[in-house]
């Protein structure tokens, strides 16, 4: 017998295996599913179709410069933390053809890229990563100019968020006030219990995807357990970044000796900018055929750690690692706020985990704060 659909903001409980029915509903509505799955020793985000594709029981040991995935045998699908991928690679894609141009009868004819974008369902979006999408919405959609390529991807996603039930040593979402619980902007949000998912309905579309899933309204007991799960994660978070007056503190300390100290360790590899869910800098590449009658422009992710990034005729504006690390950190934590009204950091900790030499921005900020020059 057909069951009514839950209303928006309702909480329902489903046995874990029934999440497959949600997946099937999404696929039947033409969404391709993107979610966490284990590949080459890491949980990455890729196309999935079945519950078995999720990283059941996998947990990552994370520390500055360290990520080791371990099978724990636990019965949780979403306890893996965050991996090197973020949703950025699907919304602000690493490589994008901007347009092609062809010389016809001596004239250049421009052809915009209007590739069809498939609707996608993001499975297991963390609170920090959902905030990162919100940050990118500000960057790409809220200003004088909008990025139509971001827009076309962004408007076609379904978000199944996952509240965190545990935290990792590099997490600091509580400092950035982005998690561990999602607070909005999702279609469905699940909290994982040992034998069930508590699911909060965030949109009509979300509710629709619970069709034929035999759900029960969440009881006070279920909600209590869900809240406890999030509290567990919150309690586990040890890392902190004090945001008090942070932009001014950094601006006032642009000549702090700590920049030299971190420059001696930083390899300027750009890993942090690649794994960061909000770093958005790009460059363009131009290609053409041998007769120079057909050309293409491609936008690719760039990094402020690349020396050429600041090249102007006559040299580079930021020739030293000191100046490039300072650019990254002051942009992320200070000038981002001036530019977009929000910090560029969501506290996911990826830049700490994936830094090959284990540089930890929270430690760098602490060191500057402890010995402020002004």
């Amino acid at each position: 017998m057909a069951q009514d659909l839950p209303r928006i903001s309702a909480n329902v409980v489903i046995p874990k295996p029934l999440l497959q029915q949600v997946f099937d509903n999404l696929r039947a509505s033409d969404f391709s599913l993107i979610g966490p799955t284990v590949r080459e020793g890491a949980v990455v985000l890729d196309e999935i179709s079945r519950l078995e594709d999720l990283p059941l029981g996998w947990m990552a040991e994370q520390a500055p410069g360290r990520y080791r995935l371990k099978q724990t045998g636990h019965q949780e699908y979403f306890f893996y933390g965050v991996g090197p991928d973020s949703w950025k690679k699907f919304l602000h894609v690493p490589q994008l053809k901007l347009f092609s141009v062809e010389k016809t009868d001596g004239k250049w004819v421009f052809k915009p890229n209007q590739d069809a974008i498939p609707p996608r369902a993001f499975i297991g979006v963390r609170a920090c990563d959902l905030s990162a999408i919100g940050v990118h919405d500000r960057v790409f959609l809220s200003g004088e100019f909008q990025d139509p390529h971001y827009m076309r991807r962004r408007e076609r996603i379904f978000i199944l968020a996952a509240n965190c039930g545990r935290a990792y040593s590099t997490c600091f979402c509580t400092s950035m006030k982005t998690g561990p619980k999602v607070t909005g902007g999702f279609d469905l949000a699940l909290t994982e219990l040992p034998n069930a998912f508590v699911i909060e309905v965030g949109s009509e579309m979300g509710s629709e995807m619970l069709r034929d899933v035999s759900w029960e309204p969440a009881t006070a007991f279920d909600l209590g357990r869900a809240a406890q799960s999030v509290q567990n994660a919150e309690r586990e978070i040890e890392r902190q970044l004090s945001t008090d007056d942070l932009p001014k503190m950094l601006y006032d300390n642009l000549e702090h000796p700590r920049w030299d100290d971190v420059a001696a360790r930083c390899l300027s590899c750009g890993n942090c900018t690649q794994v960061c869910p909000t770093c958005f800098c790009v460059t363009v590449e131009d290609t053409c055929d041998l007769k120079a009658t057909v050309a293409e422009r491609t936008r690719i992710w760039d990094s402020c750690y690349v020396q050429e990034f600041s090249h102007v005729h006559g040299g580079n504006i930021r020739p030293t690692i000191r100046s490039r690390y300072r650019q990254w950190l002051t942009h992320k934590l200070a000038s981002w706020i001036d530019q977009f009204g929000t910090s560029g950091c969501v506290g996911c900790g990826r830049c700490i985990t994936w830094c090959p030499v284990g540089i930890d921005l929270t430690e760098e900020v602490k060191a500057i704060r402890e010995k402020v020059q002004r």
Binding site: F99, F110, I133, L141, G143, E155, G184, C304, S310, R326
Partner: protein, 288 residues
């Protein structure tokens, strides 16, 4: 603050990264390795509706080579033909230098902030240009000459490395006749040079300024602008009255590529024309 994603409405959005084709109508050599390219948009509607404010720039795109930000250097009252004074400095500008009249390229723009001409009405202006820095100031000179009586005293302090590097020298007489006071200097003279020798900021010593009534507009090498600011501040001109045009690497001109950031400022959309007051904490910081 947890930032909830913005609800999105689907609608057609213009693609700001897509250039419009334009034809080179004229190439005017200005100095060694510097020419002014006059462009006309191929689409008559685009050509007839294009307009710009002095100080703004366009992105010029050469298929297969790339794109480069170039200040508009022509008369803002005649925007159908858009002038760009280009120094052949990098791979794209050198490739542009090989083009001929009648060739086509892609243009996006205009972008960026403008010189504060409205704010300067009734005031005195000290315009300070070094080398090709005169190019983005030339549209301002056109605009001033058009309504010269609306401004007070207008002084142009201008210089280049050598006499051969001075731009728009044919127009000096016209500017002077229009009521612009000219002081020209070169870093290095040749045997025919009868004018001043020395750096541009030193020209401040040849004029007297009323600090409360004067606006400074400057464009040139950053080191020159640093000393222009120094001289202006020494004459008690407030930092809010000092305007400079900054240059940084740009890939998009619309605030998305991140390359042109200067502290909180995107040079492409908040600049290129900025008050010294707005960038003082960062200006002149080593490698910033």
């Amino acid at each position: 603050m947890s930032l909830a994603p913005t609800p999105i409405e689907s609608h057609m959005m213009p693609d700001a990264m897509l250039p419009d084709p334009a034809t080179i109508e004229d190439i005017q050599p200005e100095a060694e390795g510097i020419s002014t390219f006059s462009l006309v948009f191929s689409d008559p509607a685009r050509a007839s509706t294009f307009h710009f404010r002095p100080g703004q720039f366009n992105m010029l795109y050469l298929p297969g080579f790339g794109e480069v930000a170039i200040s508009i250097s022509s008369n803002p009252s005649l925007p159908r033909v858009v002038g760009h004074t280009i120094r052949y400095a990098g791979s794209v500008t050198r490739a542009l230098g090989r083009l001929k009249v009648g060739d086509m390229l892609g243009v996006r723009g205009p972008y960026g902030s403008a010189w504060p001409l409205e704010k300067a009405l009734g005031k005195n202006l000290v315009i300070v240009a070094g080398g090709i820095g005169l190019a983005p100031l030339r549209p301002a000179l056109y605009a001033i000459l058009r309504r010269r009586e609306d401004f007070g005293r207008v002084v142009l302090l201008c210089g280049a490395r050598t006499p051969a590097d001075l731009l728009y020298t044919d127009e000096y007489a016209h500017w002077q006749a229009g009521g612009i006071e000219l002081h020209i200097t070169v870093d290095l003279a040749d045997e025919n040079w009868k004018g001043l020798v020395g750096v541009v900021p030193a020209l401040f010593y040849r004029i007297r300024v009323d600090p409360k009534q004067t606006l400074v507009m400057t464009c040139g090498p950053e080191i020159m602008m640093r000393f222009v600011i120094y001289e202006a501040l020494a004459r008690r001109i407030p930092k809010e009255s000092i305007f400079l045009s900054m240059e940084r690497n740009m890939k998009c001109a619309i605030g998305f590529c991140g390359h042109c950031q200067f502290g909180p400022t995107f040079i492409c959309k908040d600049g290129p024309v900025l008050t010294f007051a707005a960038i003082e904490p960062f200006f002149g910081k080593e490698d910033f």
